[in-house]
C-alpha cells in the first residue's frame, strides 16, 4: 500500500468508529461546557481529513503530512476538534519522518501528538482528551522495549485507553458529579479503536453502549458565556500569542492554534463581535461560526429526553406565540422569532441551522422578506440546507404538514414545494398609509385584505374584509380552511358560523396564531 492508501485506510477507520459513537459522545459532553457536540465536532474534524485524503494530489510524504495537518486544522470544530487537529498534526509529522512504522514509531507519534495537544491549550486540565492522549503515549513508550508487532501494540493501547477514559471521571469534578467520562477522551479512544481495526484488518468491535450515565448529566450548569465563536484567520506573520492575549479577557475555553499563515480560533464569549474584530485587525477571517451554546444545551436535553434522531430538521421563522406552538407541534426543531418588520439576520438563521441535531436542514422563511436571508444562510451553513420559499405563515404550515424527519432534506423540500403549490393564502392587515393598489383605494388605518398577494378589499369592518378574502380563496373547491387569528384581532366566531353554514363540506380550523400586524392569516387547500 502506498502512503496515501494507508493514510486513507486509517482515516476511514477512525471516522467510521467515531461516527457510530457520535451521539453517545455528544451526550457525554459536560466539560468544558455541556454543549453536547463533542462527538459531532470530532467526527466533522475527522471527516475533513478523510475528504482531504480523497482529493489530495500530494506527491510525496511530506506534502501528504502538510495536507493532512492543514485539513484537520481547517476542519476543526469546537474545542475538541481543535485539540484533535493538533493530535493529528503531531502524529502525522512524526509518522512522516519515519522510515518504517513499528512500535517505536508509534510511541514517538503519540508523544508528539500529546505534546502538540498540550501546547494547544492555554491551561491544560487533567481528566480530558489531553490526559488520554498522554496516557496512550506513556503506555506505548513502556511497551517499546518488547518490540510488539503493530496490531498487537494498538490492541493493547485500546484497552489501556479504555482505562484512561474511565479514570477521567475521577479526575475532573464536573465529570464525577455528572457520572460520565470525558467526551473528548471517549472520542479519542474511538479514533484509536478505529485505527487499530483498520490496521489489523478486522471488523470494528461492538460499539460501547450509550446507556449507563446518570440523569444528572443532562442538567449541568450552563457555561457563563453564551456564544461559541470559531473562526480561521489567514494572513502573513500571524502572532498567535498576541491574539490570544487580546482574546483572553473576552471569555473562556480559548484556543488559538495554527501557524503564521493560518490560525484557528475558538472562544466562548458573550461578545463574538469583539473576537471577530480582533481577528479582522490581523488578517482575513474565514469559516466564522457562532453558535448559541445555551440553545445547544437545551437541544441536547431535548434529545436525551426524546431520543429521536432525524435525518432532517426544520428551522422555521415564525411570528406569534400560537403560531410557534403550531410549528413545534408539527415537528419544527427550531423556531426563530421573526417575520414582518422583524426579519432575522442571516447569522441568526445560520446559527439555528448549525445547532440542529439532524445532519440536514429545511429552512422555512415564512415571509417574502426573509427568503433572501434564508437562501444566504443556506449557502453559509456547513450542513446541507434546503430553503422552501414559503412567503407566509399559512404556507409554512402547509409545508410542515408534509414534513417527515426520517427522510432527507431534498425529498422533504420537494414534497413541501408541492404542498405550498396546492395552498392559497390570504391575509387581513391594517393599512399603514393611504394608497391605491391595483385600483383599490386603501385608507390608512383601515382593514385591508389580500388574497394570493392581490388586494381584494378594504374598509372599516374587519368582518367584511375578512369575508371578502375568504370568499376569494374559496372560489376554487377547497377541503380545508385555516384561520390564524392575530394578536388583538377581533373575534372570528360569526365569520366561522357563516362559513360552516355556507360550506358544509369544508373543514374549518381556527387557531390563535398571535402574530402581530395581521389580524388574520388565512389558507385554503
Amino acid at each position: 500500500m502506498s502512503d496515501l492508501e494507508q493514510a486513507r485506510a486509517l482515516a476511514h477507520g477512525a471516522l467510521a468508529s467515531l461516527e457510530r459513537s457520535r451521539q453517545r459522545i455528544d451526550d457525554l459532553n459536560v466539560y468544558p461546557v455541556p454543549d453536547g457536540d463533542t462527538g459531532t465536532n470530532l467526527a466533522l474534524t475527522a471527516r475533513a481529513v478523510v475528504e482531504a485524503l480523497e482529493t489530495t494530489r500530494a506527491e510525496d510524504r511530506a506534502a501528504l503530512v502538510r495536507e493532512v495537518s492543514r485539513a484537520a486544522l481547517m476542519g476543526a470544530r469546537g474545542n475538541s476538534g481543535v485539540i484533535l487537529s493538533q493530535i493529528v498534526r503531531g502524529a502525522a509529522e512524526a509518522l512522516g519522518n519515519a522510515e518504517e512504522v513499528d512500535a517505536a514509531t508509534i510511541a514517538q507519534a503519540l508523544r508528539a501528538a500529546s505534546d502538540a495537544a498540550y501546547r494547544a491549550v492555554r491551561r491544560p486540565v487533567e481528566g480530558t482528551m489531553l490526559t488520554v492522549v498522554r496516557a496512550l503515549a506513556e503506555e506505548a513508550e513502556a511497551r517499546v522495549s518488547a518490540a510488539p508487532p503493530v496490531p498487537e501494540l494498538l490492541t493493547a493501547l485500546v484497552s489501556h485507553g479504555e482505562e484512561a477514559v474511565a479514570r477521567t471521571q475521577e479526575q475532573l469534578d464536573v465529570l464525577r458529579e455528572a457520572g460520565v467520562v470525558d467526551a473528548g477522551g471517549a472520542g479519542l479512544l474511538e479514533i484509536v479503536r478505529g485505527i487499530a481495526a483498520a490496521v489489523s484488518g478486522e471488523e470494528l468491535p461492538e460499539a460501547p453502549p450509550s446507556a449507563g450515565f446518570a440523569v444528572e448529566a443532562i442538567h449541568q450548569e450552563l457555561s457563563r458565556y453564551r456564544y461559541c465563536t470559531v473562526f480561521v484567520l489567514e494572513g502573513d506573520e500571524l502572532d498567535a500569542t498576541a491574539l490570544e492575549a487580546e482574546l483572553e479577557p473576552l471569555g473562556d475555553s480559548l484556543l488559538v492554534v495554527g501557524d503564521r499563515s493560518a490560525l484557528k480560533v475558538h472562544v466562548h464569549t458573550d461578545d463574538p463581535g469583539a473576537a471577530l474584530s480582533a481577528g479582522a485587525a490581523r488578517g482575513v477571517l474565514e469559516g466564522i461560526e457562532i453558535a448559541n451554546m445555551h440553545r445547544q444545551t437545551e437541544q441536547r436535553e431535548e434529545r436525551l429526553l426524546h431520543a429521536a434522531e432525524n435525518a432532517t430538521d426544520v428551522v422555521a421563522v415564525v411570528a406569534g406565540a400560537g403560531n410557534r406552538t403550531i410549528f413545534e407541534s408539527l415537528g419544527a426543531a427550531r423556531v426563530v422569532e421573526g417575520g414582518q418588520s422583524m426579519n432575522p439576520s442571516t447569522a441568526e438563521l445560520v446559527a439555528a441551522v448549525e445547532a440542529l441535531a439532524a445532519p440536514e436542514a429545511i429552512l422555512l422563511p415564512n415571509n417574502s422578506n426573509v427568503i433572501l436571508a434564508a437562501e444566504q444562510a443556506a449557502r453559509a451553513a456547513e450542513k446541507p440546507v434546503e430553503v422552501v420559499p414559503t412567503d407566509s405563515i399559512p404556507a409554512g404550515i402547509a409545508a410542515m404538514v408534509v414534513f417527515d424527519g426520517a427522510r432527507p432534506a431534498a425529498e422533504n423540500a420537494a414534497a413541501m414545494r408541492e404542498a405550498i403549490e396546492a395552498v392559497a393564502t390570504g391575509e387581513v392587515t391594517i393599512a399603514s398609509r393611504d394608497a391605491v393598489l391595483n385600483g383599490l383605494a386603501v385608507r390608512k388605518g383601515n382593514y385591508f385584505g389580500l388574497a394570493g398577494g392581490d388586494p381584494v378589499a378594504e374598509g372599516r369592518s374587519f368582518e367584511e374584509v375578512a369575508r371578502a378574502v375568504v370568499e376569494r380563496l374559496l372560489a376554487e373547491p377547497r377541503e380545508v380552511l385555516t384561520l390564524l387569528r392575530g394578536a388583538d384581532a377581533p373575534e372570528l366566531g360569526p365569520l366561522v358560523a357563516e362559513l360552516a353554514a355556507q360550506h358544509p363540506e369544508l373543514e374549518v380550523d381556527v387557531q390563535d396564531g398571535g402574530q402581530p400586524h395581521y389580524p388574520l392569516l388565512v389558507s385554503a387547500e
Binding site: 429521536a308 432525524n310 406552538t325 403550531i326 407541534s329 408539527l330 415537528g331 404550515i397 404538514v401 408534509v402 417527515d404 424527519g405 426520517a406 414534497a415 377541503e479 380545508v480 385555516t482 363540506e505 373543514e507 380550523d509 387557531q511 387547500e525
Partner: protein, 290 residues
Amino acid sequence: MQLTAANTAVVVDSTADFPEAPERFPNWRVVPLYVRFGDESYRDYVELGPEEFYARLRTATELPTTSQPTPQDFLSAYEELGGFERIYSLHIASRLSGTFGSARLAAEEIGGGRVRMVDTETASAAITMLGLAIQRRLEVGTTDDELDKLIDRYKQEHGLLFTVDTLEFLARGGRIGRARAMAGQLLNIKPILTITEGEVVPVKRVRGNRKAMQEFVRDFTGATTDGPDLKVGIAHADAPERAEALRKMVRAERPQAEIEVVTTLGAVVGTHAGPGTVGFFWFLDDAGDR
C-alpha cells in the same frame, strides 16, 4: 404432499378480525387474544364483541390493555384440529405482538413439522386476506412449496393504508415505531400509516378526513390496476361511515375488484388503533390463472 381443504387447516389469531371464520370454513380456527379492563379479562370477540367494546371504551375511566394467547390456547386449537395433516398458523406481526412467539411454542410442542408458522408481518384483515388466498389454493389442491411462495409474495406485495384519529392509542401501546414524529394535535392532522415488515410506519400526513381519502385514492390507484384478481379488504374501528366511504371509493376506482372483507376492528386491534381508525388492504391474487 397434496394439500387440500380436507387435510389442511388454517389457524389465525383474533387480530385477523375474522370471527366468523369457522362458520365459513370448517378447516379454520380463531385463537382469541385477551383484552383487559382493570381486573376483568375478556377473550377477544368470544367474550367481548367490537360493539360492546367501543361502547365501553367511550365511558371507560381506565383504558384497556391486551395480552397474547397462552401457548396452551394454541396447543388446544392445534389438538382440536387433530384430523388435519397440516396446519397453517397465521399471526399478527411478531414486532407488534408476542402472539407469534406463543403460537410457535405450541407448534414446537406438537412437533413433526405439522404446524407451519407464518409471521404475516401485518395485522387485521390483511391476515385474513392471506388466509383466504391460501384457502383458494387448498380448495383446488396445492403444495407447501406453492403456499410458501404465495406467503412470500403476499408479504412483499400486499398493500395496506390506514389512518387514525389520534396517534395516542398506538403510542400508548408502544406500537408506533417511527410514526411517533407524525403527531400534530393542534390542527386536524390525519397521519396516513402503513405496516412495513411488521412495523407501523408513516406514509405522510394530511389535514382533514377528505384529504386523507384523497391520499388513499392516490396511493391505491397508483399501486393497482382494475381486474377481478384484485382483492380488497376494509376495516374500521367504530367508524362505519368511513368504511362505507372507502367501499364506495374502491367501487368507483376499481369496479372489477373483489371486496372480500369488510370488518370492524375487534377489541384487541381497536385498543391499539383507537376509535375512528379506518384502513384498507389489497392484494393481486392470480390463483385462478394457474
